[in-house]
Symmetry: C2
């Protein structure tokens, strides 16, 4: 296979890439600076060697323990449970949270063959038993799987005296009522806030 076809075929395998976007990107790469191509190529080829999950929380890190778990300024009585490593970044960069994280590695989805056994619940329970968490925020996605997982966590942690909460669902800021789906509207009505 020609080098250009091969590059296009490889780019096309990335999520969200179609025939045209793969073509556009590969032609772009022929025009870019050679040092940029080397840097990008090397970064892609070596990312899996450099990055591994934090043994405590499961988010990605280059170090023995991730920057959140090793940060002594963070509130160690507060835990936020998320589905995926990238969710940690989303919540951390929102700037309103200063506690620790726990990555489940997905959400419970019986139809997709993902039961609680496939997720990091044993590690979670161990952390809760050994730690001193007073509040746990469940930040799984507002989907059926995320809701199921939240209920499962609620069940796991009952009678432990830990305050449990779930991220609010509702209309996105800057959104438009006319474009909101029924489920989102229903949730935003159910979770309405008294003024």
């Amino acid at each position: 296979m020609e080098a250009l076809d091969e590059l296009q075929a490889l780019i096309k395998k990335l999520p969200g890439m179609g025939e045209k976007s793969a073509q556009r990107l590969s032609y772009h790469l022929i025009k870019t600076d050679e040092s940029y191509n080397k840097a990008l190529g090397n970064a892609i080829a070596t990312i899996k060697e450099k990055i591994h999950p934090c043994p405590i929380c499961g988010c990605y890190t280059e170090h023995d323990i991730c920057s959140y778990c090793s940060d002594t300024d963070r509130d160690r009585s507060l835990l936020c449970i998320v589905e995926e490593p990238q969710d940690v970044l989303s919540i951390a960069s929102a700037g309103a949270y200063n506690g620790l994280f726990h990555v489940l590695g997905g959400a419970i989805n019986p139809l997709g063959g993902i039961g609680p056994d496939s997720l990091s619940f044993p590690e979670l329970m161990k952390r809760i038993e050994e730690g001193s968490f007073k509040e746990i925020i469940i930040a799984t996605n507002p989907t059926e799987e995320g809701d199921t997982t939240a209920l499962y966590i609620k069940h796991l942690l009952k009678d432990r005296g830990i305050s449990l909460s779930r991220l609010a669902s509702g209309l996105p800021i800057g959104g438009d009522l006319g474009y909101a789906d029924k489920l989102t509207l229903m949730r935003s009505l159910k979770g309405r806030i008294r003024l």
Copy 2:
């Protein structure tokens, strides 16, 4: 800089990539197969070493001369002039053209500082003088710059007895009159075809 941040920053420099898509892709690359990452990384890092412009037509090739210029089955009396190397692929894959190509390397754009001197007109004239072209199809983009370039080529090639044409502009197939812009409608009216 951490490896993951570096990868994201590099991906973000690609055209059409924002903060979120760069993040999504880099997290995807942590989950993919290592051999895929090595293959993609290597393909990106080495593409500029492997590919160069064809010395005759200017489209990209791995060989001394590109597959179009070296294909003896193609009609050597027919030339299609395009702006960019990727346009060759678009026209070739449409399947309705079996002649040769010439890549200008862009379009005349005085405001953008691109005059005829920046484009491969000397090479084009040399090919026309040495070749036996009977028909030339100008396939520059249907933009102001593409139109200017087409007019310039028309001026260059007048009184040479070569039949000149330009790709038709009009409504895209499957399009909707209601969504067509005024200029496209104007062009499709001007270029209307008698039934």
